[in-house]
Symmetry: C2
Subunit: 311 residues, 2 copies
């Protein structure tokens, strides 16, 4: 199988409460591929400036990421400067410097144009459309977006929906996109817009997977320490799609199992700072927490239902 | 088995956003026994005034509740007047009129003094202590409390902990009682205080069960309509303990299964208004949603772990 990711590769300047700003490797494609690297050898398409450090490319290579689609252009790499509130959940964007990303027009290498799984990371819906046009025959498309595009490029985003097999949105985004405040109604509205499945993310409160067949509930692992939530959503997607690539299966059953993997990989993301911190997690640690998570949501359904019937 | 509940029986005056105040049957013992009535024939100890309506007693009897321990005293029944915020989660207590509850000193009928399961609903910890003194040999004690008692009767509450097999607290309460902001740390602190197990409730965000053996994660069912959250915590406890009574088992495995039942019963509570609304739910509806919930948290653990090991 092949897993292609198109998204941003960036430097983030992050201010955590009571700490000075720190610049760290970031971007949706960076986080996604770092996470997917636990299970797959993802292909990355993106753009960086001539300030992008060679050791950051080496880091990605070390994660098993194929960076042949990472263009280097004259100019500066995309930079996002964010300041987190005391709760480490709310945040303000202080500055966004697009740099070479302003002119980004993704060109998918010819031999990558029929990936088994395509992840359209958070970039302008027009660019996501452009990628899809190049990967016309890809059988499985996942898409992430943010408030900015829902507000600023709504029509283009909505037009993409029938092509999306798995959509990732948080609760604010799903409400904004559908105009529905009640989340189950909003989720069903998304399906009616054409997306086959929706992952509704709620940070520390977990996530849910909505399809025509119903809902899966995916509680978040109670992490030892919330260090920095940046990248958690991309790591959820990266863990989940990396798993699908590993098992060579994008059936509804596999997608459901992928949710367990996604939430566990995201839990490691928020415990550390930056993609290197996630990259330092050993696969055995992921396996152990996955086992703990699966045990934590196991309730002996057969027994409960039998008991209740007697009652 | 026998299931004894001691708590308040009250009239609540509830103001939902944009609606006039409505008086409705309420109180921790009322909600608890109404919920437990799906599975058990709970015994209720409480006090009401001479204004308490006969048809409300009939309602409880109709739920299978043994009301032989419900005292009637001259004076007014306990009334709580609350106003919900627009999110239907936050609320302000506008008025509390204790009425006959001010002098409540629970006397457990002699033949009820060794219940298999005892639920100490939200009343003053001194009264909970008094009940425990009368039910010295009861093998399983569950306890609920609120911020008011954590602040005002902390020492008495803490002294009770080693007697508690299952403690119900929400996230604010567990933080207040332990002084720990990080919930997993707070939960472990509760266990160190002597309680054998903690149910940490987070409303629409679900709950978690903490024991020496680890954690169970209990996502909330995405309800069709959040009508009124009053009583949800007591319904969680009532559903869970009613199930334990039904299966005649208070082992750690049974407690974990009981969490599924508790969260599903609570989900029906918040969709309606007042205990009668919950009482109108048919057992088959509970069974169906329980089946849906169990399906929604089922992730084929064996398969996932096998897949990951290959990776």
């Amino acid at each position: 199988m092949s897993l292609l990711c198109v998204g941003s590769v960036a430097y983030d300047v992050i201010e955590l409460p009571g700490q000075p700003p720190v610049e760290v490797l970031g971007g949706s494609a960076t986080w996604f591929t770092t996470a997917a690297g636990f299970f797959a050898r993802p292909q990355l398409v993106g753009v960086v400036g001539d300030d992008f450090r060679e050791d950051d490319i080496e880091f990605l290579r070390g994660r098993g990421v194929d960076v042949a689609g990472l263009e280097r252009k004259p100019g500066l790499t995309f930079r996002w400067h964010g300041r987190y509130h005391d709760d480490l959940i709310g945040r303000d964007s202080l500055r966004t410097e697009l740099g070479v990303f302003a002119e980004f027009s993704p060109v998918i290498p010819t031999e990558w144009r029929r990936p088994d799984i395509l992840f359209l990371g958070n970039i302008h819906p027009a660019l996501q459309t452009l990628v899809l046009a190049q990967c016309r025959d890809t059988p499985f498309v996942a898409l992430d977006t943010i408030q900015c595009w829902i507000e600023g490029a709504r029509a283009e985003l909505v037009r993409l929906m029938p092509r999306v097999d798995l959509l990732f949105l948080n609760d604010d985004e799903v409400r904004l996109l559908t105009g529905q405040n009640h989340l189950p109604t909003a989720a069903r509205t998304i399906l009616a817009m054409g997306a086959k499945a929706l992952v509704l993310k709620r940070g520390e409160h977990g996530a849910s997977l909505w399809t025509a067949n119903g809902v899966a509930l995916i509680p978040a692992w109670p992490v030892d320490r919330l260090a920095d939530p940046t990248g958690a959503g991309d790591c959820f997607a990266g863990g989940a799609l990396g798993y699908l690539d590993l098992v060579k299966d994008t059936s509804p059953d596999a997608i459901r199992r992928a949710m367990a993997v996604g939430t566990v990989v995201a839990s490691f993301c928020v415990e550390g700072f930056g993609p290197r911190s996630l990259g330092a997690i050993r696969p055995a640690q992921v396996g152990r927490r996955l086992s703990d998570w699966l045990e934590a949501v196991s309730f002996d359904a057969g027994r409960v239902l039998k008991d209740i019937e007697i009652g």
